[in-house]
């Protein structure tokens, strides 16, 4: 199994542990992940706000590189994932495609390389039965938080209202997936700088919902969800007066723990809310 790996900017900075744990896990699963040659930023939300053509052109430059590799793109960042999917969809319009190819200065995008999130690939290509679980995560009660862009806009790999893929994944790892009403509610990641108070409010609701559901940790597949739920958890606690004390894992870190991947590769020490007290309680560690 080979996929063109598009990490996106966050996975080189705030989400480094997502990058390293995902690569480690994919390697154990027998995947090869050649990186998209000289990839550029997808433009996140700002590019389309400034100019929709800019958003399309930035994504298209990356899709051209994927097309040259002749592979399916795997991108762990839902913002990148959404932008690439949207570009593919918009560029079905041939006159828009010609316009964008001109903006790219001639290196034209011919087709529509497939773009997928690793959760989709792991659940649907690898298959849950093929994950070699060495240390089942019994005792972990996980609130699986999908956020917005893993399942939205529509036509993705899982339901935008009640997605199940991450829940099924953590159960295959031996953990318990707790029913969690806020699993697809927004954390405010896209506006967390210009509208900080809005993001803190949204994040507090997600954390409160996970806590009320009886979770002792949260799993995510998005760098922005992780930034707000983990790095900003202290700020959210100060903002609301509530105490959460919930470790926030990337789903790939939980996979790594269950698969017996060396913890160094999972970079758990980068998490702001330390999972050490939680993990220490379990014999399997």
């Amino acid at each position: 199994m080979r996929y063109a790996y598009y990490p996106g900017c966050s996975l080189q900075a705030t989400a480094r542990e997502y990058d390293s744990s995902l690569r480690a896990v994919c390697q154990r699963l027998g995947m090869e992940l050649p990186v998209v040659e000289d990839w550029n930023c997808c433009g996140a939300t700002p590019a389309s706000t400034i100019d929709p053509l800019l958003a399309l052109a930035l994504a298209a430059r990356d899709l051209v590189a994927v097309e040259r590799q002749g592979l399916t793109m795997m991108t762990p960042c839902p913002a990148c994932y959404k932008n690439m999917r949207k570009a593919n969809k918009a560029l079905k319009d041939q006159s828009l495609r010609r316009q964008v190819n001109e903006i790219l200065g001639g290196m034209g995008l011919q087709g529509s390389p497939e773009v997928r999130h690793p959760l989709d690939i792991i659940v649907n290509d690898v298959g849950l039965d093929n994950i070699p679980v060495e240390k089942p995560l019994a005792g972990l009660k996980v609130a699986c938080y999908y956020g917005c862009l893993i399942t939205r806009p529509r036509d993705g790999f899982d339901s935008p209202e009640n997605p199940q893929s991450m829940d099924r994944l953590v159960e295959a790892l031996g953990a318990e997936a707790v029913p969690f009403p806020y699993k697809t509610k927004c954390c405010g990641g896209a506006v967390f700088l210009p509208k900080a108070e809005v993001a803190l409010e949204l994040t507090s609701k997600v954390l409160a919902s996970a806590k009320a559901a009886g979770a002792n940790c949260v799993a995510v597949g998005c760098p922005f969800c992780h930034l707000l739920l983990d790095m900003y958890q202290g700020k959210v606690e100060a903002h609301t007066g509530m105490t959460f004390d919930l470790p926030i894992f990337y789903f790939s870190q939980l996979m790594g723990l269950a698969m017996g991947v060396d913890e160094k590769e999972l970079e758990l020490e980068r998490l702001a809310v330390s999972p050490a007290p939680l993990l220490k309680a379990f014999a399997w560690r």
Binding site: Q12, G43, I50, C148, P153, V191, E269
Partner: protein, 185 residues
């Protein structure tokens, strides 16, 4: 006689951009599913449903001057639930495009979006520390100080890069921006 009386609440005839938006939202039946699904409606001056109605009424100033379009977190909750399949989130994006183009510029928001894209233009990739600092200085240096503890926490965990990661095709990316700006003016 094919005479049609049009109720117009806006100040003047809607612009071509506004007419295009009116066509996009024409099938809206004001059910309010968008507002009911919106996680940030409470922080908006007009709810998403109200924005749809204002577009239909051609009230361009009210729409483009609203806080709503900058509060929208682009979560697509409204878009996946709209019974008329209106891509409401994309309408919000188009309204932000138009607001910038027509000079409705909420300083803080535009500083963030422009600052972000300036960095991508220069390096080809994001460089978060520069964005935080530029945005903080442009908007509120005191607030920037408030971000210092989180900045330090990120630094301690190796989550901040010290220097930008420049791609090889920096020039290619810059030319994308240049061509777009050249085509605009």
């Amino acid at each position: 006689m094919a005479h049609q009386e049009v109720l117009r609440l806006g100040e003047e005839a809607p612009s071509a951009d506004m007419i295009a938006l009116q066509e996009t939202v024409a099938s809206c039946m004001q059910c309010g599913t968008c507002t009911g699904s919106c996680p940030v409606a409470w922080a908006m001056d007009y709810t998403p449903r109200a924005i749809m109605r204002l577009i239909e009424a051609g009230m361009e100033e009210a729409v483009l001057g609203s806080q709503t379009i900058w509060v929208c977190a682009s979560c697509y909750s409204c878009a996946v639930r709209c019974p008329r399949d209106i891509e409401i989130t994309d309408v919000m994006t188009r309204l932000r495009n138009l607001a910038i183009k027509k000079g409705y510029r909420p300083r803080a928001d535009v500083a963030f979006y422009r600052g972000f894209m300036d960095i991508v233009r220069r390096y080809g990739r994001m460089f978060e520390p520069e964005l935080m600092i530029r945005y903080g200085l442009a908007v509120n240096p005191l607030k920037l100080l408030g971000q210092a503890p989180i900045g330090l926490a990120m630094l301690r965990r190796g989550k901040l890069a010290f220097k930008p990661d420049r791609i090889k095709g920096q020039r290619e990316v810059r030319e994308i921006f240049d061509r777009l700006e050249g085509g605009r003016e």
